[in-house]
Subunit: 355 residues, 2 copies
């Protein structure tokens, strides 16, 4: 029953008294064999505790039934939650997930992809639309289908499962402006190789511009997408007399770090400084004060990306994807202040804006 040598399909076929080919078919296309044959094979499989050899199967069929996902990081819960959904959905369709993270290093993404291609996967899931030329080249060269996730922008690739960071940032900034703020600072991520970071500034800038406000160059900073990034932004902007009344952050992680830095330095949030986030991670509702942020379709991205990649692998045509929705979630970290005159913060009008 438990043999020393791992038993093979040939063993199964022999025991079942059928040919190798029939045994193979019984396992992969059960409805193309006679019920009797199927039964004999299944019986033999059970008896031997037979388990397919994936490598042999992959070699012969040129399909590995695994897809790889290369993410920026696993440290942002927004990604780990999405990956979990991706994995679960893929699993349902009979695929495994190989996950790797490049920690925002373009070169590491290339290296990972190369290793993954070498290992053999049926498709890949990437985050964002801005990748090195080598990445696309590798995918093309090996005929690997891929879906791009999170970002949905004006790039022409039809398999982008995501939302518009530009629109999301625009909406967030609009809410900020409508809350009466004019002194607005932005804690963004690094814009190089990251269209999401670029879209966030662009969207923010556009919304401010529409309100007649211009985003001061010295009130924009590029910081890592983690607690420390947000802290640093606070240190940078809140030192002098001339400081913003709101800090728009690129991720909730940054925003939470910023809130904590404010607490440490005795800056009251939102009375002295409003802070907004992006992502709406579970913690966002729990920090003190709760975070005004952009809710994004984290789980949906995982699920839809999985479905799409399976369709692609199995050669079914898919219509181009339409962007998902995001919504601004208003909580306490954004203060609604009296409207100021457009030329500074001196005059106070009697109206107060609502979000």
């Amino acid at each position: 029953m438990t043999l020393d040598r791992r038993s093979t399909l040939a063993d199964v076929a022999r025991l079942a008294g059928v040919s190798l080919g029939s045994a193979s078919r019984a396992l992969s296309v059960p409805n193309e064999v006679k019920p009797a044959t199927l039964a004999k094979v299944q019986q033999a499989v059970a008896q031997l505790g037979y388990v397919r050899n994936g490598a042999a199967q992959a070699l012969a069929s040129r399909r590995t039934r695994t897809v790889a996902a290369i993410y920026p990081t696993l440290s942002n819960p927004i990604f780990s939650v999405s990956i979990h959904k991706l994995q679960q959905t893929l699993w349902k369709y009979g695929y495994q997930l190989l996950v790797a993270s490049h920690e925002y290093e373009p070169q590491r993404e290339i290296d990972l992809l190369r290793a993954i291609v070498e290992r053999g996967v049926d498709a890949i899931v990437l985050v964002g639309t801005d990748h090195s030329h080598e990445v696309y080249e590798l995918a093309r060269q090996y005929g690997l289908p891929y879906v791009l996730t999170w970002s949905f922008d004006d790039s022409t690739y039809p398999h982008c499962v995501g939302f518009s960071y530009y629109d999301a940032a625009y909406e967030m900034a609009k809410v900020v402006v409508e809350s009466g703020h004019t002194r607005i600072a932005l804690c963004n991520g690094f814009e190089v190789s990251n269209e999401r970071a670029r879209a966030r500034v662009a969207g923010t800038r556009a919304a401010l511009k529409a309100a007649g406000i211009s985003l001061r160059r010295d009130w924009v900073t590029e910081q890592p997408f983690n607690f420390e990034g947000g802290r640093e932004a606070v240190r940078r902007f809140m030192g002098s007399e001339d400081c913003p009344t709101v800090l728009i952050c690129g991720t909730d992680l940054q925003a939470i770090g910023a809130i904590d830095e404010c607490r440490i330095r005795g800056i009251r949030v939102p009375e002295d400084l409003s802070i907004t986030g992006f992502d709406d991670i579970e913690h966002a509702a729990i920090v003190v004060p709760p975070l005004t942020t952009v809710h994004v379709p984290t789980e949906k991205i995982g699920i839809l990306a999985a479905q799409r990649i399976v369709e692609l692998i199995e050669g079914r045509e898919m219509p181009a994807f339409s962007p998902l929705e995001t919504t601004v979630v208003i909580r306490k970290s954004l203060l609604s202040i009296q409207k100021t005159s457009s030329l500074g913060r001196s005059k106070r009008a009697s109206l107060s804006a609502s979000g």
Copy 2:
């Protein structure tokens, strides 16, 4: 240069003017071929953009150069951080990581493992020591080396890379007792199939007992290891007049949920209820009030597990692992209260304990 058909080692060998065998050796054992041969092969590889076929390699060599890790969940940052380290370290040694999560479902762990075995991996990393019989059986049957992580207990398997949850919980509870608490409640995880949860209660109970306190049955609850679990514990214990002065949680996630639930219900932490955590995730230092918790060697576990699994795969003998250390981190969420008489909370002594 970029062929239609993915080029094979045979193509490389032909182009380099060497035999298939030499080409293979040039790639896998470069120092066993003449430098001139090596150079020719490398040149051909570059020219063709050759990439190994992992399936063929795996089939012929019986090694996949990938290891699988089955984790309870990716939603706890403690695990995602550790997985990241595991992955990075494995990568350095030339191995890939296949990650899956069973969400605390024993049956799902078995299913995942079966799929993973079928797919083919060189080894597996599991969390904890308490697994279904089938899990060990599968590993044994296919001769798969494995390391057990996080937990280090009295099970006899020599490759457990972890720490003693019992000792850690004991220390935490000791600190709680020394802070003057006697009315102590425990928010634990589900104990079935989870020796870590069991060790936590056992350690806590032992520490209380050593102080002459017994853990009330109705002040112990099994909850999921997430925010909601902590919230529920607060709801359950803080309804009546007869309530604890401290809630010891099994994870920081539970503790953070508990703190938030207290905030919602107007229970002051730590004045009305002290709360302690376990794990020391990054958020622990940031919540308000900052969390007293057990710091655990998250990254070390990832790194050491990776190293050990590689040694095991490559057949090197390893001495049995010695447990890692944990430390209690004292922050504001645990109130140091005046010593009460052993028979209630009526009398106040003038001493106050320190942690």
